[in-house]
Amino acid sequence: MFFEKFTDVYPSFWGWLNQGPLTLTLFLHTIIILPMIWLYFKEKKRLEQEDK
């Protein structure tokens, strides 16, 4: 039910990702947000260093 056969007119990378349960949007959101975690820790380190 959550995995569907490919139904769109043309095959494509995005269409293929679109077959699972919200996989396309989860994928996009994840790759957008993940680097923010890295930015977070980078900033944290910088703040700690400034405090010293």
């Binding site: 139904t7 043309y10 995005w14 957008i32 900033e43 910088r46 703040l47």
Partner: protein, 210 residues
């Protein structure tokens, strides 16, 4: 003010994050745009070539897709002739120009976008209404009925709200009908849903259209 220790109140963190997220969203949009351009160019399966006007068009429920899709059928004459690729393209070009110059979209919607003062034209070519109109106008074919109506809409009122006379010439009217027929062949992922059908038709998988 004391130095803040929290990353959550660090302007630099938010600025960097904003730059990253914006930049990356733009890149994704551009990539998606390239893929979509490929899929919707004129002559693709989603947006058929102008010569589609030489074919019968229907709009039927597809089990596989889970909604209605355009079905391009056998050849049929359009205004009494078969149009070469060059002629068809020129006709469509004129039709689109006329659609814009007459400002259709500030009363109607096309593909659902525009104004809400008059019916949606996405599948107007397939509208069962043209059967009645054909009789009322005294036209031999659907395309003739549409062209006559477009030239003198004030003469064929169907409702208190009438379409005004937009000084559409015979040539422009023919081109507009081609534009409308072409638009009805575009794969709109099932919009409008259940076009002009009753429940029984819907279940039977046919349409009123033809």
């Amino acid at each position: 003010m004391a130095k803040s220790h929290s990353v959550w109140t660090s302007i630099r963190f938010w600025r960097q994050s904003a730059a990253w997220v914006t930049g990356f969203a733009v890149v994704l949009l551009i990539l998606l745009t390239f893929d979509t351009m490929r899929q919707i160019k004129m002559g693709s399966k989603r947006v058929p070539a102008p010569t589609v006007i030489n074919h019968h068009i229907d709009y039927k429920y597809s089990k596989k897709r889970g909604h209605e899709v355009p079905v391009i059928g056998k050849k049929e004459l359009f205004f009494g002739k078969e149009w070469s690729p060059k002629e068809a393209a020129a006709l469509l070009h004129k039709g689109k120009l006329t659609e814009q110059a007459k400002n259709c979209m500030d009363c109607h919607t096309l593909l659902g976008n525009g104004a809400y003062y008059a019916p949606d034209l996405t599948k107007a070519w397939l509208d069962p209404k043209w059967k009645d109109m054909q009789a009322m106008i005294g036209a031999k074919t659907r395309e003739e009925a549409m062209a006559k109506f477009l030239q003198h809409p004030e003469m064929y009122p169907t409702h208190e709200r009438r379409m005004p006379n937009l000084k559409i010439t015979a040539e422009e009217a023919q081109a507009l009908v081609a534009f409308l027929k072409h638009m009805s062949s575009i794969d709109t992922n099932g919009f409008p849903r259940g076009f002009s059908k009753t429940v029984s038709d819907f279940k039977a998988g046919g349409t009123y259209a033809h």
